[in-house]
């Protein structure tokens, strides 16, 4: 996987709250057996009408907004555990999602696909939405090493949390399974003392 250190990008704003995983990728698109192609159906029912024509006022169809950072209203990714939602976000080309609150499973799924979830305060989020309204070309800078996000329109920065282990995974492009596989002896040791019926 690509290593993630810093990213400066224009943004795609989606100021809707409680965006659930059925909106991110509707269930009828979950029938694939690979991880490819989900980006084409990201936000499918908001993005296309029943005939498959793009819905003009949806942000992904608005050429004004482009970028590798999705900025969404609070409680993004609630609902189903489908990792397809993370594959759709990643497949579309987003590397960072910014919100004031994420659902737990989505957050884990995003990180396991090297999409960085960045949690900011409600006030900072609302300021990003104001900035992009005034200037669609505004950018955000994510600095993972220093755990900061900067609104380059206002010049204001905000720190964000990530545990040291996951940060290392992003910086080095490593995944959990490699690490777990290296712990096989510990697992077998545990199984000897395990209570099981």
């Amino acid at each position: 996987m690509d290593k993630f250190k810093t990213l400066t990008s224009t943004i795609v704003p989606l100021p809707i709250e409680n965006v659930d995983t059925d909106q991110i990728i509707p269930a009828r698109f979950l029938k694939a057996t690979s991880k490819e192609g989900f980006g084409d159906n990201l936000f499918r029912d908001w993005r296309y009408d029943k005939q498959g024509n793009p819905i003009k006022d949806f942000v992904l169809n608005d050429p004004t907004y482009k970028g590798e950072i999705l900025v969404a209203g609070k409680n993004f990714g609630s609902g189903s555990s489908r990792e397809h939602a993370a594959w759709a976000v990643a497949g579309y080309g987003f590397r960072v999602v910014v919100s004031s609150f994420f659902a737990d499973i989505f957050k884990n799924n995003a990180m396991n696909n090297f999409v960085l979830p960045v949690v900011v305060s409600d006030a900072f989020l609302s300021e990003i939405f104001s900035s992009v309204k005034a200037d669609p070309k505004m950018t955000l800078t994510i600095d993972l090493e220093n755990q900061t996000i900067k609104n380059n329109s206002t010049g204001k920065s905000h720190s964000f949390l990530i545990n040291g282990y996951k940060k290392e995974c992003f910086l080095e492009g490593l995944d959990d399974i490699d690490y777990l596989l290296s712990k096989k002896d510990k697992i077998e040791e545990y199984e000897k003392k395990r209570v099981a019926f």
Partner: protein, 463 residues
């Protein structure tokens, strides 16, 4: 500290990564066809086998049709996904209940009813409603496909330890109020993100008084307020339910198991990160009016007025009501209903079919309402027939379908058409969840039965 959750979690820690997650041992992994293919493919790409195939149980449930299961699946894409699970189960030697097998059904119904989900276990599945199994007194939670791959490869998962919350329902439920109503009430109070980051233990008189089926309904919906999972300390009700189930311990093992399971409760000195108290006697039969499960109210109440909604949330609130075709401030009682769905991992168990059948006994289905009655498993189907509930349902003008997830998420043919209203006993009223454009009103089995008889949203206690 010293909560039921802590006891089970701590006893499953293999290692802890410095400034990182815990490596947690998993007793049971369940897999269905939607969230597992990429995980098995991942194993192939890495040249790995399943580490503990006897602890992995697979079954298709999401795509399978609820009619003519003896025939091949018509939709080629659905068929491919189910066939892929058939092949993966065979190639990797895991336990498998294929479509049509007497133990097939919705995973969260099948696990407990076979004694595969037991007190004290850690249980995961690539499905957010894995929280259901917490009713057994287990730590059970939904995971993503990358995490399914981790468990297949190592029987372990990396997880940050969540915070703990205890929700107590004190007092007694009114007649005609069910576990589903408790859950919808709780989510309406706490919101869909209100328990995010927490693992919940349910307690109190009204929880103790619930049957195992009711407890599963309550734990099932934990994820709808964002909780990592929900659980209930095992007690005599649990032991009675588990005893003699196929995979439950037997003989001396049973005695030892009971001895251990009796220790699985929060200590008197237990400290939770958050405590919530509800008065169970205040809960009414519930319905939802919006597009997330937190948008619920007592069946005779009115949708909130716009000015009572927080300013920053008003756009989302209006969008939601527009989708549903409802006005703020109005009541839902008396509104016509096009479809009724009884089933899902939330309300597809024998008790739900008993409640529904007893309610419609001697009455007739309303004309013009399409009613889908979908048992959660073949075992539930068998029990329905053993108790003669199928005859009551047939006489009232209903027919039973075959088991599966069905219209809960409409991955098979059971789709509610755009613009139509469905009173559904499932778990999510998200836009398009039950079919593109479908409008879902979540409720319990009795509200569903009342809608099936009248073609309207109506308080079942008035019939």
């Amino acid at each position: 500290m010293n909560t039921l959750f802590d006891k089970i979690w701590d006893s499953h820690v293999v290692t802890k990564v410095e400034d990182g997650p815990t490596q947690l041992y998993i007793d049971r992994l369940f897999c269905h066809e939607v969230t597992s293919p990429q995980a098995f493919e991942g194993l192939r790409n890495r040249g790995l086998q399943v580490f503990r195939p006897n602890q992995v149980y697979c079954m298709p449930d999401h795509n399978i049709p609820t009619m003519n299961q003896e025939m091949p699946i018509v939709d080629p894409v659905s068929k491919n996904q189910v066939d892929t699970l058939d092949k993966n189960a065979k190639d990797f030697g895991v336990q498998y209940f294929p479509m049509g097998h007497k133990k097939n059904g919705i995973i969260h119904v099948v696990g407990p009813e076979n004694g595969l989900s037991l007190p004290g276990m850690t249980i995961v599945c690539g499905d957010s409603h894995t929280s259901t199994h917490g009713a057994m007194g287990a730590v059970a939670f939904g995971i993503g496909t990358s995490e399914v791959e981790m468990v297949l490869a190592t029987q372990c998962i990396f997880q940050a330890k969540p915070k703990t919350m205890r929700i107590r329902f004190e007092g007694r439920l009114k007649a005609g109020v069910s576990a589903k109503d408790m859950a919808l009430y709780m989510i309406s109070q706490l919101t869909t993100g209100g328990a995010t980051g927490y693992f919940v233990e349910y307690a109190g008189e009204a929880v103790r008084n619930l049957s195992m089926e009711g407890r599963m309904t309550l734990c099932n919906l934990s994820i709808e307020m964002g909780a990592r999972g929900g659980m209930i300390a095992p007690d005599e009700t649990t032991f009675e339910y588990v005893k003699d189930r196929e995979y439950a311990p037997k003989g001396d093992d049973w005695k030892k198991a009971i001895e251990y399971w009796k220790t699985l409760k929060s200590g008197d000195d237990a400290v939770f990160d958050k405590e919530v108290l509800f008065d169970a006697s205040e809960i009414e039969p519930m319905v939802t009016y919006g597009t997330n499960p937190g948008m619920g109210m007592g069946i005779n109440s009115s949708i909130p007025a716009l000015n009572s909604i927080e300013k920053s949330s008003r756009d989302s609130f209006v969008k939601s009501l527009n989708y549903m075709g409802f006005q703020s401030g109005e009541k839902l009682t008396g509104k016509p209903v096009d479809y009724v769905f009884l089933g899902s991992c939330t309300n597809g168990r024998i008790e739900d079919f008993r409640d529904f059948a007893h309610f419609v006994k001697g009455k007739k289905k309303a004309d013009g309402v399409i009613v889908w009655l979908v048992p959660g498993s073949w075992a539930v189907d068998k029990q329905i027939k053993a108790e003669g509930l199928d005859k009551i349902l047939t006489e009232a003008g209903f027919e039973l379908r075959q088991p599966g997830c069905s219209a809960c998420l409409a991955m098979n043919e059971d789709k509610v058409p755009a613009g139509k209203y469905v009173v559904s006993t499932s778990n999510r009223n998200f836009e398009g969840r039950q079919g593109p454009g479908a409008r879902t009103i979540l409720a319990g089995s009795l509200v569903a039965a009342a809608a099936a008889l009248t073609g309207k949203i109506i308080d079942p206690r008035t019939l």
